[in-house]
Amino acid sequence: MGIISRGFSGRRSAADAKLPPGQYLTTDFPVLSAGPTPHIPLDQWEFVIDDGTDILRRWNWKSFRDLPTETFTVDVHCVTRWSKLGTFWEGVSLDTILADVKTDASYAMARSYGDYTTNLPLKDLMNNQAWIAFRFDNKDLAPEHGGPARLLVPHLYLWKSAKWVRGVTLMHKDKPGFWESLGYHIYGDPWREQRYSGDE
């Protein structure tokens, strides 16, 4: 009779999964949306890094897709309390996007088609923590999940991972985005359960 150690299985089941506080596990991928789903033709898509005044870098779909890509598997945590583990994506690292950008800014505002915004410290976009993702589960990213391309910052609540992302504005001072200006936490770390403004 053997005793099987779960530690050797190498796969996480729902029972072993370690979730941030207050989260439950889901296996589907709920669609959350604060507005109509934009449908952006690839020949009109662009992604722009600016500093609030000047455009620093600009890509169209072709030049964006010429950038080196990565595949990555991450857990995502939505502030509406569901978490989905082991999601598989392909995208361009923000380290690649920001490589040639000279800035002394400390904050960033992600901007989306459909006028959604979300703010985060610039360092949270760097060091292999954030991507512009355009494929999910080996398929082109569907519009309802943010396609053609979305920001993915999996170490923060998913509202920070702006769908339909069209650019990032670099800022010297932090400024709240769409949800951060209406009661949601300015940073949004799921492991510290920073859901609402005022949470420690």
């Binding site: 709920p30 959350l32 609402y196």
Partner: protein, 99 residues
């Protein structure tokens, strides 16, 4: 919900009636609101309401700009009405019932 076949985008303004009745004594869905972006004046019941989100977002039925946002946190409610230049509530029923 199957993400590949059916997903609704919005409901009408009545979908927000329950949440809004927690903070307004009058029925806001019967009120008329003027969109700050395009100027259209419509009954709130006609607004496009997005509920599958971290809060409730109501958009102008004409131009889709946000006219109302509503978030309930642990002990507070946040209400953003800057997308409406004017909200017109009909008090005739209140006056009638008071007589």
């Amino acid at each position: 919900m199957n993400s590949h076949t059916c997903h609704y985008e919005y409901l009408d303004g009545n979908a927000a009636a329950g949440e809004l009745s927690n903070i307004f004594t009058m029925d806001v869905t019967a009120a008329k609101g003027q969109c700050a972006h395009c100027g259209a004046t419509k009954r709130f019941a006609e607004a496009h309401v997005y509920m599958q989100a971290p809060g409730i977002v109501a958009r102008c039925a004409v131009c889709e700009h946000v006219i109302l946002r509503f978030v309930t946190t642990r002990q507070r409610v946040f209400l953003d009405l800057r997308g409406m230049t004017c909200l017109i509530l009909d008090t005739s029923q209140l006056i009638d019932s008071g007589q």
